[in-house]
C-alpha cells in the first residue's frame, strides 16, 4: 500500500519575539490535500505558527527561530532557500480582505506579472475566478476597482489572487473574521472545493467553523501545540483536559 507523503513536516520549532517565546517545541506532520484548522485563544501562537510556514515573520525585527520546517522535502529556513520561491509555493489569505487598489484583473494577475508572465492572462483570470467562485459576480467588471466589491467578494478575490500564483499550499489566517455569516459560508464551501487541489491550513477563532471545514485540528495554548489530530476526535472526545475546556467554552 502506498504511504501518504507528508507535505509539511515541522520538528522542534521554537519561535521568539525578542525574549518572548511565542512557539514552544512544535512538531507536526501534515498530509497533502487536507484541511487543517488551528484553534486556541488569542495570543496562543497559532497565527505566528502559520506565518512561520511562508516566512512572513521575517518582516518583523528581532525574531529568532530554531527547529526544522520542511515543505515539499525542503528545509525552508536553509540559507539557500529562496523566500520569493517559497511564497509562490505557499500562498496566504489574511484576516482582513486586502485587495490592492487596482482593478480586479490587475489584482489576480499580480503574482504572474511579478514572475514575468504577460501572456494568457485572460484565460488565467477566468480560470482562477471560476475556481474562487467569483466569476459570475465579477466577469462583467474585471476592469473595475477591486475595492468596489463587497467584503466577502473581496476576500474571495484575495483567495483568487493567491491561487493565481499557483501555490500548492494555502494559509488562511482567520479569513472570515471580518465577514458576515453568508459570506463566511461561501468561503467555507469554496474551501471544500479547493481541497482537491490544495493543502489548506486555516487559523480560526470560530470552533464551529473548525469542526465544519477541517479534516484535522490543532489546539494551541500559550505557544504550545497541546493536541493535534482528527477533527472528529478533537471535537468529540479530546485527550487533553485543556482542549476539552476550550472547545466546550470554559475559557478563551
Amino acid at each position: 500500500m502506498e504511504t501518504t507523503a507528508c507535505i509539511i513536516d515541522v520538528a522542534g520549532l521554537n519561535f521568539y519575539y525578542g525574549k518572548f517565546q511565542a512557539l514552544k517545541d512544535i512538531s507536526l506532520q501534515l498530509e497533502p490535500r487536507k484541511i487543517t484548522a488551528f484553534i486556541g485563544p488569542s495570543g496562543c501562537g497559532k497565527s505566528t505558527f502559520l506565518r512561520t510556514l511562508n516566512r512572513m515573520n521575517d518582516l518583523i525585527a528581532g525574531v529568532r527561530i530554531d527547529g526544522k520546517v520542511m515543505i515539499d522535502g525542503r528545509d525552508i529556513y536553509a540559507p539557500d532557500m529562496d523566500v520569493v520561491e517559497l511564497r509562490r509555493r505557499v500562498g496566504m489569505v489574511f484576516q482582513r480582505p486586502n485587495p490592492f487598489p487596482m482593478s480586479i484583473f490587475d489584482n489576480i494577475t499580480y503574482a504572474p506579472r511579478m514572475k514575468g508572465q504577460h501572456k494568457g492572462l485572460d484565460d488565467l483570470v477566468e480560470r482562477t475566478l471560476i475556481k474562487a467562485a467569483l466569476w459570475d459576480e465579477a466577469k462583467d467588471k474585471l476592469k473595475a476597482s477591486a475595492l468596489s466589491l463587497s467584503g466577502g467578494q473581496q476576500q474571495r478575490l484575495c483567495i483568487a489572487r493567491a491561487l493565481a500564483a499557483d501555490p500548492g499550499i494555502l494559509l488562511m489566517d482567520e479569513p472570515c473574521s471580518a465577514l458576515d455569516p453568508v459570506s463566511t459560508l461561501r468561503i467555507e464551501d469554496l474551501m471544500q472545493s479547493l481541497k482537491n487541489e490544495y493543502t489548506i491550513l486555516i487559523v480560526t477563532h470560530n470552533m464551529q467553523q473548525a469542526a465544519r471545514v477541517s479534516d484535522y485540528t490543532g489546539f494551541f495554548l500559550s505557544g504550545e501545540l497541546i493536541e493535534f489530530g482528527d477533527s472528529n476526535k478533537i471535537f468529540t472526545k479530546p485527550d487533553d483536559k485543556r482542549t476539552e475546556d476550550y472547545i466546550t467554552g470554559r475559557f478563551g
Binding site: 509562490r88 487598489p101 493567491a162
Partner: protein, 282 residues
Amino acid sequence: MRPRGAGEWLAYGLLYLSIILVTLPVAAVLFIVISRGYSAISWEFLTAMPRMGMRAGGIFPAIMGTLLLVLGTVAIALPLGVMAAIYLSEYASRGRLNRLIHLAIVNLAGVPSVVYGLFGLGAFVLFLKLGVSLLAGCLTLALMILPVIITASEEALQAVPQSFREASLALGATRWKTIWNVVLPSALPGILTGAILGVGRAAGETAPILFTAAAFFLPRLPKSIFDQVMALPYHLYIIATQVPNISQSVQYGTALVLVGLVLLVNASAIVLRSYIRRRRSW
C-alpha cells in the same frame, strides 16, 4: 452649532479673531500687490526683454530663469529625495543610525537659506568649478528643498497600509517590486505634496541663488545650464533697491508675476495630485 454662555462666547470670539488675524495679512499682501501691480501687466511685460536699465520693457528672462531654476531643482531633488525616503522608510532598520539621519534631515530643514547660498558658492561654483550658473543654482536650491521632499515622502510611504506590503510579499513579489508596484503608487499623492511645498520655496527664495545663479542684468535667455540666469525674486530685489527712478507699478508688477507664478505652479501640482488620487481610489 451656536455657542452658549459667556465663556463659550469668549472662546469662540478669540478663535474667530485669530483666524481673521491670520488671514488678514495674506489678503492685504495680495490686495496691495494686485492693486498696485496690475497696471504694469501687459503682453510686452511678460514676453519682452527689459530695456532702459530695467525701467521699461518686460521681465521675460527673469520669468524664464525662475521657471528653469524650479524645473531643474525638482528634477534633481525629487528623485534623490524619494529614493532617500524609500531607503529610510522601507529598508533602514529603526536603529540609532536611522534616528541620527532623521535628526540631520530635520536640522537641514532649519538651516537659513543664505547659508545654503554660501555653501553653493563654495561647493558648486568654486570647488566644482561650475561657475555662477543655472546648474549651480539648481543644485543649491535642490539641497535646500531636499529635507521637505524627504520628510513628506517618508510620511507618505509610512501611511501606505502594511497590509498592501504583506499581500504583495506573500504573493512572492520581491521587496523592490512590492515598493515599485504597490507602495509607491499609493504614496504618490503625498510625495507630490512634498514636491509642491518644495517648488513654492525654490521659486521664491533669493539667498540661495544670489551667489550661485542669478544675474544682475542679462537681457537674453541662458544658452546652456552653465549660463547665468535672471530670476524673479532677485530681479525684484534689484529693482526695489538698486534702480533709481523706476516706476512703482513695474516693481509691484514683478511681485505680482512672482506670486502668480508660484500660485500657478502650486495649483497645477494640486490638480495633478487630485487627478492621481481620483484615478487610484476609483
